[in-house]
């Protein structure tokens, strides 16, 4: 049983510290994943909190078919998609026009991604299609297997592998453009 699951079990038994531990361990990663949908770190923060509210309110029983983290990211993804559906008509403002957004995103990014190489990778991912950005985040930064990432995004393992392959090619092309060579890609 991973830490998230044991913390969640404690929370279900009435220990609020279990919930605080979950937020501590998963807040930043989940926020950056949701940011790959919203492209706005403040909205991503709100949706991350919303995901935790759902967890605290509904106290859903973990299905045990996948890890707690996979399950939490699935709830986060659904929350982000719901938000995008409801707000599809909102006007999008380019990131460059909101310097405070960029700096907030960078500070979360720096706190979560320690390695310099991965930071370069993450920034190159911003130019990819949302679908590619999302799957690469799950695989490269959260360490999910293709199978678990497939569960989160609702695709079969085979389709997920194909998506990862295409996303990798796009990322490579993007890095080439910038003159970076990333050996582990």
């Amino acid at each position: 049983m991973d830490n998230g699951a044991s913390s969640y079990r404690r929370f279900l038994e009435g220990d609020e510290d279990g919930f605080i531990e979950i937020v501590r361990d998963y807040k930043d990663g989940l926020m950056l994943y949701i940011n790959s949908f919203t492209n706005n770190i403040h909205i991503a923060e709100e949706l991350t909190e919303e995901t935790f509210v759902k967890l605290a309110l509904k106290k859903p029983r973990d299905s045990k078919k996948s890890s707690f983290k996979t399950w939490l990211y699935t709830i986060g993804r659904n929350t982000a998609i719901d938000y995008l559906r409801k707000n599809s008509k909102l006007q999008k403002i380019p990131l460059e026009e909101c310097p405070e957004l960029t700096s907030d995103e960078e500070s979360v990014e720096r706190a979560y991604i320690k390695e310099e190489n991965k930071l370069i990778l993450h920034r190159a991912m911003q130019c990819l299609k949302p679908e590619h950005r999302q799957i690469l985040w799950l695989i490269y930064f959260e360490g999910f297997s293709n199978k678990d990432a497939g569960k989160i995004i609702g695709k079969s393992t085979h389709n997920t592998e194909t998506l990862v392959y295409r996303a990798r090619l796009s990322l490579k092309a993007e890095l080439d453009k910038e003159g970076y060579i990333y050996e582990n890609l």
């Binding site: 609020e16 919930f19 605080i20 979950i22 937020v23 501590r24 807040k27 770190i41 923060e45 991350t48 909190e49 935790f52 509210v53 967890l55 605290a56 309110l57 907030d104 500070s107 979360v108």
Partner: protein
């Protein structure tokens, strides 16, 4: 950006608030469901009662309540036609405002016309208020007030012409506390043939309408007294 502690505390607080809101909503929904059920049951009962054959209704007849009314009207118990259903109200899908009919003209309110269409060919009578208007002389566009004496004479003429008039009771809400207050009014029981063949006097205009209670329900046709002698004043 929030720290993990702030986010955890906010999430727990929001979840708690949401739980309370959900509980309130559930309570409200339960109350609304009970109210809707009671209302539906009441409407069904009223519908069954209103559609019951006339012969099943109690033959209760009330007398006039005040001395002045006894002086002003001669009342005899109504002899109801056994088979005829009395239509006292009808729902209309529109709200209309009317221009008072000119002398020698008459009109039926929309709900009366709807009821006439609905019961066409059936042996029913309509219990209607007959309002009397009169245009001002010398071509002025205004209506002049028809005196009680003139009304009495005209109702008498109509009664002689075959109109059956009754005194009926209806209620409305009055005052700040919306108390139910009962009133009396004069109503004619008319068949479709009488409405079609109505001959207005050249001196007056007429409207035919249902008399309704404060909640728009039809009046109770149990408490009807037939009126044959018309004196003033008339409470319509």
């Amino acid at each position: 950006m929030k720290t993990y502690k702030e986010m955890a505390e906010d999430a727990l607080r929001r979840a708690e608030k949401q739980k309370l809101t959900n509980a309130k909503r559930k309570k409200l929904f339960a109350r609304a469901a009970v109210s809707v059920f009671c209302f539906a049951a009441a409407v069904t009962c009223i519908d069954i009662w209103q559609n019951a054959p006339v012969s099943e209704m109690p033959p209760e007849i009330t007398t006039l309540g005040t001395e002045s009314r006894e002086q002003n009207t001669t009342v005899k118990p109504k002899e109801k036609p056994e088979q005829k259903k009395v239509i006292t109200s009808f729902p209309a899908n529109a709200v209309c405002s009317y221009i008072a009919p000119g002398n020698g003209e008459y009109l039926c309110f929309i709900e009366v016309n709807e009821a006439r269409k609905k019961y066409a060919g059936q042996d029913v009578v309509f219990l209607l208020a007959v309002d009397i208007f009169s245009e001002a002389e010398n071509g002025e566009p205004h209506l002049r007030e028809v005196s009680d004496e003139e009304k009495a004479a005209e109702y008498k003429r109509l009664a002689d012409d075959g109109f059956d008039f009754y005194e009926v009771t209806y209620w409305d809400y009055q005052g700040e506390e919306a108390r139910k207050v009962y009133h009396t009014a004069l109503a004619a029981e008319l068949t479709e043939e009488q409405l079609q063949g109505f001959k207005p006097s050249e001196k007056y205009g007429y409207t035919f309408r249902f008399i309704t209670n404060g909640d728009s329900s039809g009046i109770n046709d149990d408490k009807i007294n037939a009126v044959t002698n018309f004196h003033t004043p008339f409470i319509v």
